[in-house]
């Protein structure tokens, strides 16, 4: 500052210090309207907190954006489609331009879909963009939630955001299903028939739910208009609300960040919203839009004209739902034919367990996991630094096990395609998967846990002995040894930034607690042992110093260059907190 420092309360001084910058033409032009808005809604006040908000940069943070941008593409392409689609099951004779269906009876819904595909310019492109976007939307949400899971971003204070995410995943899948059922073609109509049978088989309320859903018997004449309402109004409205809440919470909590030099729990390091983040995020939106458009241009999806209009007496070999329903399809195919007969009633477990139970299990487990882990660790502090997956081997192993179980069901959903493509027996595939669905996740759990612990060991090696340099020394005695060079301070900090979560021994100091409370605590401690007993503890300062001396490459551990005496960390038994 050239002028003498003025006091903070001197308003005129503050004004004089405001630099008079030469504004470019765009700013000059926007100046008038902006002032008009600001006078009425206080634009500057609103934008102040967000203008230079900081977002950390990592590719894995862009997965949620892929989902968000696909959703925007879905809305835009969806609006286009609603302009021509007729959600009606009234029967008409087809007189459109697709020759191979000429003269056939079909619903208005199917005929209008053919119209969009063949007679509206750009119609087929928009239909395909819409369907590809739906597939990518759910894929991105799932991948994003896997990233959140494996990095522990669901921990306090973000549990609510995790639940909102699970809700959005559910709604996304529901909307996908209702969406592809709208054209009333043979493939999706078969899917609706399946859903009809599934609903009917629900114990106690099945026929009621079926008649209420279809307004009577299958297929009736109301299911397509009802699905239309759900697809374009109900679910998008819920999704928009949840997205707003989801993003608001991300802004409020600020984004998490990976461990690294300069990054601590109390700060967030990254780029400001304007200009860098806006350019990258805006650019990414256009890239997602562009990629989905290119897919709609070059890759055919859901060619309903080949499937033909829905006919309850027709079917195609290889009838599968869209990929995100594949795990339910697999469950239904693999399930043995259990049915109970009690009194004069039938309990169709063969359909109800995989049909309803699997969805409930999948989303239920996802929803409660953060609370289970919080209970196990007893951790009540806020977490803003992400976990590297290897540092929580049990959580990572659970995640991989869940993915494996899901994958087995997925494969089960395509068991007839597995049989034809790989020339194996359909029945053998089914029997194998019935077992694999339970056994493979266990194997995956054990293998993943060991891999994580192995990675932790290699991290520990790097910490204590440095990185391998590739230079081999030969001692006069003839012994070979590889020279290690010390890792940077930044890396050393990153490798040890996580917390050691202890495996606790059973509590001994239990005075003053009820039997129930004691039992609960002992169970919790047992759970911590299951979770953390194999996990490697971080090297202590003493160990690092000792290793450094051993290698004769002194590591500077504190800024002032002195080596402080370090007390060895004492393993304490944790007492029950009052």
């Amino acid at each position: 500052m050239a002028e003498p420092a003025a006091t903070v309360n001197d308003e005129t001084a503050v004004q004089a210090q405001t630099p008079k910058k030469e504004l470019g033409p765009v700013f000059k032009l926007a100046g008038g309207p902006t002032k008009w808005l600001d006078d009425r809604i206080g634009v500057a006040g609103l934008s102040r907190p967000f203008l230079r908000k900081v977002f950390p940069d990592h590719w894995s943070f862009l997965l949620g954006e892929i989902a968000l941008y696909s959703f925007i593409v879905l809305i835009l392409s969806g609006i286009f489609l609603t302009i021509w689609f007729k959600p009606s099951m009234s029967e008409i004779e087809y007189e459109g331009s697709y020759e191979l269906l000429r003269g056939l009876q079909m619903s208005e819904a199917f005929a209008s879909t053919l119209n969009i595909s063949f007679d509206i310019r750009g119609g087929l492109l928009l239909r395909q963009m819409h369907h590809w976007a739906a597939a990518v939307f759910v894929a991105a949400m799932l991948t994003h939630s896997l990233r959140i899971f494996f990095t522990g971003a669901f921990r306090k204070p973000r549990e609510i955001n995790w639940l909102i995410g699970v809700a959005m995943l559910t709604l996304g899948i529901i909307n996908g299903f209702t969406g592809y059922s709208l054209p009333d073609d043979l493939l999706s109509g078969t899917g609706l028939r399946f859903v009809d049978g599934l609903i009917r088989s629900i114990p106690v309320i099945g026929t009621w739910a079926e008649f209420f859903t279809f307004a009577g018997e299958f297929p009736g004449e109301l299911i397509i208009p009802r699905l239309y309402m759900v697809h374009i109004l109900l679910v998008p409205a819920l999704l928009l609300g949840l997205i707003a809440a989801h993003l608001a919470l991300v802004v409020y909590h600020k984004h998490t960040q990976y461990p690294g030099p300069g990054r601590v729990t109390g700060n967030v390091v990254g780029y400001p919203v304007f200009p860098v983040y806006a350019a990258k995020a805006g650019g990414f939106f256009l890239i997602v839009f562009g990629v989905l458009t290119l897919m709609g241009a070059t890759m055919q999806i859901n060619p309903v004209w080949v499937f033909g209009p829905y006919n309850p007496a027709e079917i195609t070999a290889g009838s599968q739902p869209d990929w995100y329903m594949g795990f339910v399809e697999g469950g239904i195919r693999l399930m043995p034919n259990w049915e109970w007969h009690i009194g004069s009633t039938t309990w169709s477990w063969n359909v109800a367990i995989p049909g309803l139970g699997l969805m409930g299990l999948f989303f239920g487990l996802m929803a409660i996991y953060p609370f289970v882990e919080a209970w196990v660790t007893g951790d009540k502090s806020e977490h803003h630094i992400l976990d590297r997956p290897r540092n929580n081997p049990t959580r990572t192993a659970f995640g991989v096990a869940a993915m494996t179980g899901y994958a087995m069901l997925w494969i089960g959903g395509g068991n007839d395609l597995v049989a034809t493509q790989f020339h194996v027996s359909l029945n053998s595939v089914t029997y194998f998967l019935r077992v694999a669905v339970f056994v493979a996740p266990v194997i995956a759990f054990l293998v993943t846990k060991r891999i994580c612990i192995g990675l932790q060991r290699s991290d520990r090696d790097r910490m204590l002995h440095g990185a391998e340099s590739g230079i081999i020394d030969r001692a006069p005695s003839g012994k070979y040894a590889e020279r290690h060079r010390p890792i940077s301070e930044g890396e050393a900090y990153t490798l040890t930034q996580h917390e050691d979560l202890p495996a606790l021994l059973p509590a001994t100091d239990t005075d003053g607690f009820s039997v129930k409370e004691i039992k609960r605590e002992q169970r919790r401690r047992k759970a911590t042992r299951f979770y953390f007993i194999d996990t490697l503890r971080r090297p202590t300062r003493a160990e690092i110093e000792e290793a450094a001396h051993h290698h004769m490459h002194p590591m500077h551990l504190s800024g002032d260059g002195e080596h402080h005496a370090i007390e060895a960390e004492v393993e304490e038994e944790h007492h029950l907190a009052k």
Partner: protein, 357 residues
């Protein structure tokens, strides 16, 4: 070193950096290294040109889209290697898609190469509200409750709760006409009956041609419908078809098991079964003429048509219903009566354990 992490939010704190918990102290943000475009003016110019090119291509592609939209006819095809597709769809998508892509790539390239890339630090606040806010809210809420007088006049609260709970009732009951109520009587009229009746001819699906037994060879499969289905249209047609579709198969009588109660249901090895799977209702046509097994393509339920439609594999729990058939005066195959059990998926109210003969 305990930093003041309370930037902008006095009184709040987050877990501070604790030397004892972390064996290696924070070395601080890494030194910011410049990019090539930061130090080399030529590289920066090159990057600028690249960004401008990406942006510059967008108008060309956008106009290209408009040209294609009006100029390319809807029946033109492109034949290029594995791609045999509609030209208009392909070109509209390529022009628009690349326009979007280039616009996006240009923006990102600008950000990565030219925009200032110094990282900034922002400080977090605790997710919990400040003690100040909490105290204020609690105190004021107390006052609010007092001012509402609800604590003194408790009956207001109690009646309010009851009112709020029950006001939902009209809204829920208002949905009761979502569909007809599947009472026992309604079920008997709908899912428990089909349009098959004594004397209704079995005709081939799509062509509705009636069938004589001598037209059918051993190993033949016919996808059939009741002849009276032709009288129905629209939604009624679909509903009845979804229950009444049948398959007629002919097998060598010496190779199949016919239960005594069903001796009269067949015509010399010609049997008629429901086409609708008892699992979740997909129509089944996949019949192996040598094994007599019928495989549903949806979930692979397999039925043995040579053994009263018994389930031999897969998730179906109920055997496939059989339709008793005979011939009429002119020698065409007709149904003797409607199905004895409802075709299609099982449901709670009906005990299906006696469906096997």
């Amino acid at each position: 070193m305990s930093e003041d992490t309370s930037h902008g939010h006095p009184g709040t704190e987050v877990a501070t950096v604790d030397e004892e918990r972390y064996p290696v102290p924070d070395p601080g943000l890494e030194e910011h290294l410049p990019r090539l475009t930061d130090v080399d003016e030529k590289a920066a110019d090159r990057a600028t040109r690249q960004v401008a090119t990406f942006f510059g291509l967008v108008p060309i592609l956008s106009i290209g889209f408009v040209v294609v939209y009006f100029a390319v006819p809807g029946d033109a095809w492109v034949d290029f290697g594995p791609l045999r597709a509609n030209s208009r769809n392909l070109l509209l998508g390529l022009t628009f898609g690349l326009a979007l892509l280039f616009l996006g790539i240009g923006a990102v390239h600008w950000a990565r190469k030219l925009m200032d890339d110094k990282e900034m630090i922002d400080y977090r606040h605790s997710a919990a509200s400040s003690d100040d806010d909490k105290n204020y809210v609690l105190t004021e809420l107390d006052k609010v409750v007092d001012e509402s007088k609800i604590t003194r006049r408790k009956i207001i609260g109690r009646t309010l709760l009851a009112a709020l709970a029950t006001i939902l009732l009209p809204m829920i009951v208002g949905l009761a006409d979502l569909g007809p109520w599947p009472t026992k009587k309604k079920r008997a009229e709908t899912i428990e009956r089909t349009i098959w009746a004594p004397g209704v001819r079995v005709v081939q699906d799509v062509t509705f041609k009636p069938i004589k037994p001598e037209d059918i060879e051993i190993g033949q499969l016919i996808n059939g419908e009741p002849a009276n289905l032709q009288e129905l249209h629209g939604s009624e047609f679909q509903i009845e078809k979804a229950k009444a579709a049948v398959i007629v198969v002919r097998m060598d009588p010496n190779t199949i098991t016919i239960p005594p109660s069903r001796e009269g249901w067949q015509i010399g090895g010609i049997l008629c079964y429901s086409k609708i799977c008892t699992h979740v209702g997909c129509p089944i046509s996949l019949w192996e003429q040598q094994t007599h097994h019928l495989l549903c393509p949806c979930h692979q339920s397999t039925f043995d048509l040579g053994d009263a439609g018994k389930v031999v594999f897969g998730p179906a729990a109920r055997p496939l219903p059989q339709l008793p058939i005979t011939t009429d005066a002119e020698g065409y195959i007709v149904a003797q009566r409607d199905f004895l059990v409802p075709p299609g998926p099982s449901y709670f109210e009906r005990d299906s354990r006696h469906d096997s003969p």
